[in-house]
């Protein structure tokens, strides 16, 4: 487990431990790699500054995700009329399936996309997702079910046989 003190090396350890995951999460949320990069820096800065208030009720990983989710949500709130375009701005996938999945994800409401990313991309279980999203486990289960159903529908429209 990552042990943290107060110096720069500890901050960089936190950044290198969770940087990739947080960036992937923020790409999923915003659909844009450059924005995800910016938000990732903001998320780590906030997590670092707020670390003394981290009460060890959850794991450090959950805490960092929680901060990043909130940073992502703030950005989404300020850009309500945005157009998520994974194709142009994000991972520049050449894989047709990856493109289709990203397009399908971008067509879903923020809340659904969020939970699908945590479940599929970050491999979290219901308990972890409940902690990160700060909602009861039952809410996670029902939200995930709805989100998976909607994602499946979006992919069916694209011609996938699921």
């Amino acid at each position: 487990m990552l042990q943290l003190g107060k110096n720069e090396d500890d901050f960089l350890a936190l950044y290198s431990e969770y940087g990739k995951n947080i960036k992937r999460l923020l790409i999923g949320m915003t659909g844009n790699e450059a924005i995800a990069d910016e938000l990732m820096q903001e998320a780590f800065t906030k997590a670092w500054v707020k670390l003394p208030s981290f009460a060890f009720k959850s794991s450090l990983k959950t805490w960092v995700y929680q901060v990043a989710i909130n940073v992502g949500r703030d950005w989404l709130r300020g850009h309500k009329n945005r157009n998520l375009d994974f194709e142009e701005n994000s991972l520049q996938e050449t894989d047709i399936d990856k493109k289709s999945v990203q397009e399908a994800l971008s067509s879903l409401p923020d809340e659904m996309r969020e939970i699908l990313i945590l479940f599929y991309w970050e491999g979290m279980d219901h308990r972890e997702m409940a902690r990160v999203l700060e909602v009861p486990k039952g809410t996670v289960k029902s939200r995930l079910f709805t989100a998976r159903t909607k994602l499946k529908e979006a992919l069916l429209i694209k011609g996938y046989e699921l």
């Binding site: 950044y15 992937r24 800065t45 670092w48 599929y120 699921l162």
Partner: protein
């Protein structure tokens, strides 16, 4: 439910972005102040307790002096070993 999403789960697993590149942290690493606020509050409370204790003792000493003056006692506070006892005695008179 598992069967319902089986194919979707496989597709999602296969298309999970793995090649995420992170750049080094740009900008200044923020200074963390640690537990500054709790320390300040704690210090303030300690001072308040010490001050109220000193204030209360002062009041009692003044009370002893006032009473000794009223009763025209030749009384030196420095010689008093037990304020409680003296105060009780003076109040009794």
């Amino acid at each position: 439910m598992k069967q319902e999403f089986e194919k979707l789960d496989v597709l999602m697993e296969r298309t999970k972005p793995l090649d995420i590149k992170t750049s080094s942290f740009k900008g200044e690493i923020p200074k963390r102040r640690g537990h500054l606020l709790p320390a300040l509050v704690g210090g303030f409370c300690t001072l308040l307790i010490v001050f109220s204790f000193v204030h209360r003792e002062n009041q009692r000493i003044n009370q002893v002096i006032e009473l000794s003056e009223v009763l025209s006692w030749d009384f030196s506070i420095d010689e008093t070993e037990d304020f409680e006892q003296t105060l009780a005695f003076l109040e009794g008179n």
